[in-house]
């Protein structure tokens, strides 16, 4: 197992404010060569989860193991473990504007003690001309910059690649291409890929498994094709039905009424119950803390008391 997250809790504390449990007991695994898509609305805790995996957010409870060893918090000191690499949302901010693209990719190569590959080779792998290495980030479009960021991440030869909304800042026409590129490169290298996005239609295209997150909890995990064809959690169904399809039919997407509740003050019982169209009495009292579908409608047999 490349990544094993167990009952992860991450809290944000700020003075004078209530503690926010951004991740409230989430478990997820990523195997080598596997692409796992993590989806959910903004504020559901998916980015916090990704940052915790990289050691950018401290773990409050639970554990994150990378290849069997716990992930240590990232500090100012040089990190020993570089098997996890992250591609961030905004390539305008994640690349250093004052350094040449090639130099930034060379950092990654040095990290991996890789003398066989050059920055130009990596640019080629992400579908860019080799001579881009001598240029600066501002000379490129968003899609090209994100490819450069991917090249830099890959240069360190990660065994786990994390994309935190890596395509949401890109043009619609570049989104699917960049997502597919990330998948292909990660899978070819035998690395796991945790791909975070709010765009289910792109996740569907590249992920082997989909995990759906709602208010700090993973509410459904499953094989991509199965989740897409037969979503079981009412929240997953609502997410899928809300995607407008470019079929020219003029069909208004289904609306999920209500807003995501305040994570500092989550509703009791099932966290989705105030918005759930299928809410039952049990949902208001008891939190469904089982998988793969955390919903009282899909309680596994052995979970009944």
């Amino acid at each position: 197992m490349t990544l094993d997250i167990r009952d992860l809790v991450v809290e944000h504390r700020s003075p004078g404010r209530p503690v926010v449990r951004a991740v409230a007991g989430a478990s997820l695994t990523v195997s080598p060569g596997e692409v796992v898509g993590l989806v959910g609305e903004s504020g559901c805790g998916k980015s916090t989860l990704a940052r915790a995996v990289c050691g950018l957010n401290p773990v409050t409870e639970g554990s994150i193991a990378f290849e069997g060893r716990p992930v240590s918090p990232l500090g100012l000191r040089r990190r020993r473990e570089t098997g996890i690499q992250m591609v961030f949302q905004d390539p305008y901010a994640s690349l250093n504007p004052r350094r040449r693209v090639g130099d930034q990719i060379a950092d990654g190569l040095r990290t991996a003690r890789d003398t066989s590959a050059t920055p130009a080779d990596l640019l080629e792998r992400v579908g860019l001309p080799r001579d881009f290495a001598d240029r600066h980030p501002h000379e490129f479009s968003g899609g090209q910059r994100q490819r450069i960021a991917i090249a830099r991440a890959l240069a360190a030869r990660p065994r786990l690649l994390i994309g935190d909304e890596p395509i949401s800042a890109l043009d619609a026409s570049a989104q699917a291409q960049v997502a597919t590129l990330m998948r292909d490169l990660a899978v070819d290298a035998g690395a796991g890929l945790l791909f975070i996005s709010h765009d289910l239609s792109v996740v569907r295209l590249i992920a082997d498994r989909i995990a759906v997150m709602y208010l700090g909890k993973i509410v459904e995990v499953g094989d991509t094709a199965e989740v897409w064809a037969d979503p079981r959690h009412p929240y997953t169904r609502a997410l899928l039905r809300a995607i407008p399809r470019p079929d020219g039919m003029g069909v208004l997407p289904a609306e999920l009424p209500g807003d995501v509740p305040d994570p500092a003050n989550p509703p009791g019982g099932c966290r989705f119950h105030p918005r759930c169209p299928l809410v039952m009495d049990v949902c208001r009292d008891k939190e469904p803390d089982f998988g793969p579908v955390a919903c009282w409608l899909h309680e596994p047999d052995h979970a009944t008391e």
Partner: protein
Amino acid sequence: MTSRSALDISGLKVSIGGREILRGVDLSLAEGRVHGLAGESGSGKTMTGLAVLGLLPHGARATGRVALGDRDLLALPPKELNRVRGGEVAMVFQDPATSLHPMLTVGRQLTEHMRHHLGVNKAEARARAIELLAKVRIPGAEEAYGRFPHQFSGGMRQRVAIAVALACSPKVLIADEPTTALDVTVQAGVLRLLRGLCDELGLAVLLVTHDLGVMSAIADEVSVMREGLVVETGPRGRVLREPAHPYTRSLLASLPDALPDSPPDSPPDSLRDSLPGALPDSLPDSLPDSLPDSPPDLPPDSPPGETV
């Protein structure tokens, strides 16, 4: 189409510093209809919306005709244009977090508008503002009137921005990527609202978006822009299901829903070469036909290093 025309754009050209951003755009908006304007970033779709309102960046020159009734908005003196802007023609922007004033209450932003354009008194403006907040389906409209933008969620903020745009009963609403910053579940609600308002109030809406799904959901007509020109216009169903222009086809083919079925050796960008007109002077952003087939093997254990 029997509905009356509300805004006619013809031969609209915009140039900035000698570079032509719009190269002769023709569009027409009709009452009670949503006209979708699609295209990639840099195609000029946002610039078209801004040109209608005379909100072009400093140093930009616009020629052509933007006819609102018998007036040409491009030829109006600034004072009169100010009266049209926010009055007969209103705009909703992509990010409600930046388009609303953070330090003024929602009520103030709604009523200031009305008092300026309609000359109504304070009490009337307040009553109308609360009515509008209810119309865009903000729960507890009365209470919402006194709140600040940051006290609303993203979706609710966009509803407030729409209410502000509607404050002076515009005939034309220009919505520039109104749902792009929102989650799909929230987007669905805002799209329903826009469509409903358009039908109910007979608004002519110019919906600028890169999202063809959004387009398909609420637009009646669709125009596709590329490099400052409208390359295809037609009824939504025809343009999205039987696109005539290769660029429209390439846009549709680049969508995730279409990708698995499209032949692997025809990435969207390859179609560009076959198009008439100048190629973009930006750099190519396409996948190579094939990636190197043997990536280097990973070492079993990673040596120490310095990046995350």
